[in-house]
């Protein structure tokens, strides 16, 4: 049996859950066995009903006041009890920041291996990126285990819906709130983002390959010639070369422009998550093996300091 752990916030299901159900359905088709889903929280009836629309053997709700606000300890306690009771041989989770916070501790407490960041299941092995996405590995694992699936690895619309809603069952699990050590405050957004890149038609984005802050003006000239907004991968914003609200990726903004030009961006998965919805992707990178070239429509394997001035000249003709 594969158990999928659903994720939601403020009563809203995280779509990555549907992708993970799609992954579980694909994996169960290879090895047979039912797929179930678990929804944790306080007052989760609506979310559980939404999950139950998928083709699942059943949905298990763990409803406890101690799970109202997410905490790592709360989720580990609840899921340890649930997994001990239900005995799934595989537990699938979306590779979200929340999962990353609790799943390794859960795996350790259950003494089961956890394979993170999976992009596919093939013949029982899991495919995951390594070395910042430059290489891919097939990983074999013995016995019962947990696996997290990278956002976008499976499509939510590939998830099979059920003919009728799956049954929702309340698990008989009580959480001892005194064992929860983290005390969370309410989530918040920093000062309102000055730039909404999600609406940009064209984006010129820079990565480590730009080398120094003073070279940003080259990218800015290209953006101007294209009528594009300037953006960046995380290291550029970490270094303070561009403000954080210009960052594209899992920790920054998600964009879907008509044109995305990636300059000196290798294409680590955290960046790809934010930009692969772009309609046309151009990559300029001196490393012909850079993962960005796997998703680009047009690629130039070359020195951006030679290619970008040539592009600006061509656009201004």
């Amino acid at each position: 049996m594969i158990l999928v752990i659903a994720e939601h916030r403020d009563g809203k299901l995280n779509r990555a859950t549907l992708e993970t159900i799609a992954a579980a359905q694909a994996a169960s088709a290879q090895a047979s066995g039912p797929v179930k889903a678990a929804v944790l929280g306080s007052g989760v009836d609506t979310v559980a009903a939404e999950v139950a629309a998928a083709d699942l053997a059943e949905v298990i709700a763990v409803d406890d006041a101690a799970l109202k606000d997410y905490t790592a300890d709360g989720f580990v306690l609840a899921l340890q009890a649930l997994i001990d009771a239900e005995k799934p041989d595989r537990v699938f989770l979306p590779h979200t920041y929340q999962t990353r916070d609790f799943a390794p501790a859960l795996a350790a407490r259950l003494n089961r291996p956890l394979i993170t960041d999976c992009v596919a299941v093939k013949d029982g092995a899991y495919v995951r990126p390594m070395f910042q996405g430059k290489l891919q590995a097939d990983v074999a694992v013995e016995g019962a285990h947990l696996a997290t699936f990278q956002i976008g690895a499976y499509r939510a619309d590939a998830m099979k819906a059920g003919g009728a809603p799956a049954a929702v069952r309340k698990a008989a699990i009580a959480i001892d709130a005194s064992r929860i050590r983290q005390r969370p405050e309410q989530p918040f957004k920093e000062a309102k983002q000055a730039v909404d890149l999600s609406q940009a038609e064209r984006i010129v984005s820079v990565g480590r390959g730009i080398k120094a802050q003073e070279h940003l003006q080259l990218a800015q000239q290209l953006a101007q010639a294209m009528g594009a907004e300037i953006a960046a991968s995380r290291p550029i914003c970490d270094a303070g070369w561009l403000p954080m609200d210009r960052q594209i990726g899992s920790s920054g903004q998600t964009v879907a422009p008509r044109l995305y030009v990636a300059l000196g961006i290798s294409g680590a998965i955290q960046h790809l998550v934010g930009m692969k919805g772009a309609r046309t992707i151009v990559a300029v990178n001196k490393d012909p093996e850079a993962p960005i070239f796997e998703i680009a429509d047009y690629g130039i394997a070359g020195d951006l300091f030679e290619v970008v001035p040539a592009m600006i000249a061509e656009l201004n003709k």
Binding site: Y97, P104, D117, S251, E294, I300, E314
Partner: protein
């Protein structure tokens, strides 16, 4: 592993050819070390750098000492170079469980395997509460630690937790310092305690390591920079209609 190095896969296709690679401190770990040094400067105490890895990891440990760590622990075994997250966390836990640690800081994930698990498993093995993807560390009320977690999509959250605790640090939490000549000289006199890790059986195994298949749709534009740029602009205008 230095980011500039062109990766090559070994003959068994199970790992990279690391005999001709250069190795350096993982960037997320560099931010964790920096945060530890800053906390020490503010609150006092001692910074101990702990690293699990083969003999060559000594070089990274020296770098940590040169940046300002007071002493180091090297959990040394060749197998740790390619070990899974649980094995690495076991090795680290054995080495630090008897240290009087107030706070354990790790990077969010490594640059090579990128499990993003070692810190959180280590917290579990040490019996400590943890918080991940941390962007700020403060002293909270009632002796609690108060930390700012990064959530997805521009959201953040403060979480308080008792010490001793483990935090995994997000890159960009601070500005990194680099080792000074004085620091490098001082590092030579600092203690590196060597520890042998417990025997561990890996639970996951890489059966094949390979370059991902290129998306067939990618059109690589060859020629001189001027020729490639000209062709690109033409295709963006006429084929993709993106300009």
């Amino acid at each position: 592993m230095t980011r500039e190095w062109q990766l090559r896969v070994n003959d068994q296709k199970t790992w990279i050819r690391d005999q001709d690679a250069g190795f350096e401190l993982n960037e997320p770990d560099a931010y964790a070390l920096e945060e530890a040094l800053r906390l020490k400067e503010k609150h006092g105490g001692e910074v101990v750098a702990c690293c699990a890895g083969p003999a060559r990891a000594t070089q990274v440990i020296r770098e940590a000492l040169a940046r300002g760590a007071d002493r180091a622990i090297h959990v040394e075994a060749d197998a740790l170079a390619t070990a899974d997250a649980s094995v690495i966390a076991d090795a680290l836990a054995a080495a630090i469980k008897d240290e009087a640690v107030d706070l354990v800081l790790t990077g969010l994930q490594s640059d090579d395997q990128g499990f993003g698990q070692v810190g959180v498993i280590l917290a579990e093995k040490l019996g400590m509460p943890h918080a991940t993807i941390i962007m700020e560390v403060q002293q909270g009320d009632g002796g609690l630690l108060r930390v700012k977690r990064e959530l997805e999509g521009g959201w953040f959250q403060w979480v308080a937790l008792p010490m001793p605790a483990l935090l995994t640090i997000q890159s960009g939490i601070n500005q990194l310092r680099y080792a000074t000549l004085k620091g490098i000289m001082a590092a030579k006199k600092k203690e590196i305690r060597k520890v042998t890790p417990p025997a561990a059986a890996p639970a996951q195994r890489i059966t094949s390591l390979y370059f991902p298949e290129k998306g067939k749709k990618t059109q690589m534009l060859a020629g001189s920079p001027a020729e490639a740029a000209k062709e690109l602009v033409k295709r963006l205008r006429e084929e993709a209609r993106a300009l």
